[in-house]
């Protein structure tokens, strides 16, 4: 966090100043570890074991926040009799179908739960039989099936519960049995974290939770970039719910996101499976089952705020199709395109290879550097008919046809690439006005400072004028297919000589208005399902309340208390609420759990909720409110149900539906790992992981396979403070380039000795995909682990570089396979395997034979295996002998790291960090 979100990290340091203990769990020792109380050097890809052991510690020792768990979670609900845990089935849950590689999730449900299948849900294989599509409904993501709200759990009265939490089939007991095998001993064996260190963090977390205190978890792509990424987050959610740390000040699980508005681009999704505000994109369904009523039936549970899904959907249709969206035509619901499976970026790239996708817009993203197995992206894009790239600089995604790595190797020839490329220069954030949504859901308006130069335009300008042009060209069309375009509301006021559209007008449409008079609505509670209101994104509704751009407010915090949320600075969705599920900050009777941790509470005299935040439910709902039969949406939940987006209002310790890989987290090793799965020896990696099996996306062998020794080391990608993601906004800037000029690989002194790597010199990293080169950084910041009696090594590899710009070098992502968490279609960037050898990689046409030689050694069945002997450079590495220009040899790394002699790592227990401990190395940032 100190590295990638340095300014946000000041609040962690502020908390530390006030007595908070900071633990940093990371395979690498970073700038965060340097100032944390303790660094836990976990082995890559084992966080579920670590978090599972914390959950087990809480459950075995009765350390849960009992009253919170009993009242606010689904701990008491009984699970179906036919559910069988992975422990009893050798590593997979009940419902596993080895043929299809997917789960039938029925047995995971609650006892008595109506298993009505939502449209496009995994229950219903709606596309498998179709040779035209070939898509499998099991590729549907969780959000796709259920929005963000999980499945309808049916009538709560039908569900069986045991409030004493003793019934062997109640969630609490199921959980207790499931996590029993996650012991401190397992943590030591799998994660490489010793029992003393584990005890210290377990005690710190449990002692710092309860009525008086809360504990917070912060994570980033280190958790999501795994084939089990969703279950990492689930594991943290379970722990935080058990400890009563959700919906309370200082609690929660905080996602740190990497781009200025990546939260916003999820809320108003440029994502295939979502409509604005986490409404699911409709899935294809047979005639009669694909109208608005069927969509609402599938996605509008009785209880919770999703119970108003029809209001949000109809208002969205009204915002898009205005007067053409009427009750008679289902408000234009039929105008929306239908999805039939996974249309995320990776299958789309495959579609380019196959010629199915022929046109591609790339705006402010650099996939030929930033995506896993980026070579596959370049090869796909070379097969397009047309490509539009909008960016500030001439990024790699715009020039692959001219100077990409495959031009160098001869795999592509410029003259043979038929892709027509348009590079349109974009405006910077200072040259346009609009909102970013930051990582804590805060919308902040930026005012335009200067005009964009020459042809530079905002994406608002481009999209508006492209749409206008397309509509003009189609104006005379009577084709039914063009109606959604021609009937679209597309009249935004413009200003200036370039006819720049008004961002404020767009924001107002997003926030919503009443159709009759065009007046801004105050928030989503005012949205209707009868076509009288319009709102482009219901969760953003209210951001333009009172005809005021609420996101442009800049009233600083003047309370003197730095913890004050400054409610008039920007606008947080929903309804400027700062802590979600804040009903949980008070006890069931509506009183704060403690004076110290008060946030909102029930005022009996005024008969209203009051306090420091805006309640995320009706302000006059009594704490003892019990819904009557037939009550709807938020009024179908009880007055003490805090989790208002869930159909049952409860925090889910166990997910009876909504996930494709299990109702509870279970440890599997990464797809490519250096160790065998010690938790479930029969199942090495996540059985549901989504693999793109292709010749050009080959996997390295598993640890049980002979060829594994050919790629013996774990490699994890990471980011540094001096660069930004795929480098388009940093590698082209002189002083950023100077701070971190070259790609580098962090290796331990032990690995350096094993492979003969010299600090500051070049090394080549090889996988079954390709080989790349990077400078060697020998450092204690990365340490080997002893797993299963073997020393296993990890290499840290920042990924920001590419061939263009001022700071140039090979792209780390070229090394990685595309293999995904099936819930999210996020690839496993954080764990793959490779070999590392000294020297530069082969150039030009010599590269592919070098990589192929490795593949040959790794073997297909029946081929001889010739593993690399420790300390020896493979003889294939002839390219080492090539002359290297002297100016490149003399170029120092960004900072140097004078390490001492290799140390004895007989134990995996890392010495605790404290004030007394002097580091034995100089951090590069200080010597640079």
């Amino acid at each position: 966090m100190a590295e990638c979100h340095p300014v946000g990290f000041q609040w962690v340091m502020e908390a530390k100043e006030r007595g908070a203990k900071v633990f940093h769990v990371d395979p690498r020792f970073t700038r965060t570890s340097a100032v944390a109380d303790e660094h836990l050097g976990i082995r890559v890809g084992t966080d579920i074991v670590f978090l599972g052991a914390l959950i087990n510690h809480v459950l075995q020792n009765g350390l849960e926040f009992r009253e919170y768990v009993e009242n606010y979670t689904n701990a008491a609900t009984l699970v179906r009799e036919d559910f069988v845990d992975a422990d009893d089935l050798g590593g997979v849950f009940s419902g596993w179908d080895p043929e299809s590689g997917t789960y039938d999730q029925q047995s995971w449900g609650y006892d008595g739960m109506d298993v009505r299948a939502p449209a496009g849900s995994p229950f219903k294989k709606d596309a498998v039989d179709d040779p035209q599509e070939g898509d499998d409904a099991q590729t549907s993501s969780g959000e796709q099936s259920h929005g963000a709200h999980g499945a309808d759990v049916g009538d709560p009265d039908e569900l069986k519960t045991d409030p004493t939490l003793q019934h062997p089939r109640c969630v609490f007991q199921v959980l207790k049995r499931h996590f029993a095998r996650y012991t401190p001993d397992m943590v030591e064996r799998v994660c490489g974290i010793g029992p003393d260190q584990f005890a210290r963090i377990a005690d710190a977390i449990t002692e710092n939770s309860g009525r008086e205190k809360t504990t917070c978890f912060i994570y980033s792509v280190g958790w999501t970039h795994h084939t089990t990424g969703t279950q990492y987050i689930r594991a943290a959610s379970i722990l935080q719910l058990l400890l009563g740390n959700m919906g309370r000040p200082g609690g929660g699980i905080m996602a740190l996101r990497g781009h200025a508005s990546i939260q916003g681009s999820t809320d108003i999704p440029t994502l295939y499976n979502l409509l604005p505000g986490y409404l699911p994109m409709p899935s294809a369904a047979p005639p009669g089952e694909d109208d608005l009523a069927a969509y609402i039936e599938s996605n509008e549970p009785e209880g919770g705020f999703w119970g108003n899904a029809r209001d949000y959907t109809v208002s969205l249709m009204k915002a898009w199709w205005g007067e053409h969206a009427t009750a008679a035509n289902d408000y234009g619901f039929g105008y929306l395109p239908r999805i039939t499976g996974d249309h995320s970026i990776y299958p789309t790239i495959m579609g380019m290879h196959e010629g199915e996708v022929e046109g591609f817009f790339v705006m402010g993203e650099n996939p030929t550097v930033g995506s896993a197995n980026s070579k596959l992206h370049r090869m796909g894009m070379a097969n397009l008919k047309w490509l539009v790239v909008r960016d500030l600089q001439m990024i790699e995604s715009a020039t692959f046809w001219k100077d990409g790595p495959e031009i160098e190797t001869g795999e592509l020839r410029t003259e043979e690439i038929g892709t027509e490329v348009f590079f349109l220069p974009a405006a910077t954030h200072a040259e346009k006005s609009g909102t970013f949504t930051n990582t804590h859901r805060l919308l902040q308006w930026r005012h335009q400072a200067v005009e964009p130069p020459d042809d530079c335009r905002s994406e608002l300008h481009f999209t508006y004028h492209l749409g206008k042009r397309i509509r003009e060209k189609l104006a005379a069309s009577t084709d039914e297919r063009d109606r959604p375009l021609l009937e679209l509301t597309w009249d935004y006021p413009t200003h200036g000589p370039t006819e720049d559209p008004s961002g404020e007008a767009v924001l107002k449409e997003i926030s919503g208005y009443t159709v009759a008079d065009g007046k801004a609505v105050g928030g989503y509670r005012e949205l209707k399902d009868d076509g009288t209101t319009a709102s482009g994104c219901w969760i953003y509704s209210g951001s333009y309340a009172d005809e005021v751009n609420q996101t442009a407010r800049r009233t600083p915090n003047t309370t003197g208390d730095i913890a004050s949320p400054a409610p008039e600075w920007g606008w947080a969705w929903p309804l400027n609420r700062r802590v979600l599920y804040n009903r949980a900050s008070a006890d069931p009777a509506g009183k704060p759990w403690s004076e110290r941790k008060k946030l909102i509470w029930w005022d009996e005299e005024q008969e209203r909720w009051t306090g420091l935040d805006i309640p995320d439910f009706a302000g006059d709902m009594r704490p003892d409110y019990v819904p009557e039969k037939g009550a709807k949406a938020e009024w179908a939940l009880r007055g003490d149900d805090p989790f208002v987006m869930q159909a049952d209002g409860k925090g889910w310790l166990y997910a009876p539906s909504g996930l494709l890989d299990g109702p509870m987290p279970n440890h599997y090793e990464p797809h490519e790992s250096t160790a065998q799965n010690l938790v479930h020896p029969g199942v090495q990696a996540s059985p549901t992981r989504q693999i793109e099996e292709r010749e050009d996306n080959r996997s390295n062998p598993e640890p049980t396979e002979d060829g594994h020794a050919v790629y013996p080391f774990q490699v994890m990608t990471f980011r540094i403070a001096e660069h930004h993601t795929a480098g388009g906004m940093s590698r082209f800037l002189p002083h950023m380039a100077e701070l971190a000029p070259d790609p580098y690989a962090e290796v331990s002194p032990e690995l350096a000795e094993l492979r003969g790597l010299q600090h500051g010199e070049w090394a080549t990293l090889v996988s079954a995909r390709t080989a790349i080169e990077a400078r060697v950084m020998v450092t204690d910041r990365i340490r080997p682990h002893v797993i299963g009696g073997r020393q296993v090594h990890t290499i840290g590899l920042p990924y920001h570089w590419g061939p263009n710009g001022l700071a140039v070098g090979d792209s780390a992502n070229d090394l990685l396979p595309i293999v995904m968490d099936r819930n999210t279609h996020i690839s496993e960037f954080k764990a793959s395997t490779c070999d590392i050898v000294p020297g530069r990689r082969p150039r030009g046409a010599d590269l592919e034979p070098f990589v192929q030689a490795y593949r040959d050694r790794a073997g297909s069945p029946g081929r001889p295996i010739t593993p690399v002997e420790p300390g020896r450079t493979p003889e294939h590495h002839g390219a080492d002998q090539r002359p290297i220009p002297p100016e490149e040899l003399d170029r120092p790394l960004a900072g140097t790291d004078p390490h001492g002699p290799p140390k004895d790592y007989g134990t995996t227990e890392h010495p605790p960090l404290g004030r007394g401990r002097e580091p034995d190395w100089t951090p590069p940032e200080e010597s640079a």
Partner: protein, 191 residues
Amino acid sequence: MGKTRRRRLPPLLRQLTDDPTGRGVAAQSGRSAAIRPRNAKDTADKVVDSVCPYCAVGCGQKLYVKDEKVVHVEGDPDSPVSRGRLCPRGSSTPSLINSPTRVTTVRYRPPNATEWQDLDLDTAVDMIADRVIDTRRRTWQDRRHSDNAMLRRTLGFAHLGGATLDNEENYLLKKLFSAAGAVAIENQARI
């Protein structure tokens, strides 16, 4: 030294009379009295409230504009998010905006060409509109054969990017491309 000597009172007396903390005029030399902070408002034509374009923390920025050019950036001390701070990336904002390598005109590469060409912006937008219409027509899918399910879409063109864009921009992109029938609309959220 000479300038200092011209002051009426020596530093200690200045402190006793005007500057009890000793951090103001008492510590000032003639030279330091003449130094202006480079972010002084009077050196810029205007100071504009903005937000950092790099990561998602959302630090407040004050952009200093002179002669229609961003000349300087400071962290916004009023921001409850960042309290005036910026990291190396955020501090590099002026060089991002004024980068000499920034491409500010349209570049066009016809199929199989070896070099870029110039192209008028309006022509480029027009050509792109034609390609969208053409691809959409040729790759349109009305219904799925097996169950006659309505698809009403094209997989023929795709979009990638959005996490660096404004909410308003993403909104128009999703709205336009969905109306055109495109479903493969994606951004950085999966990387």
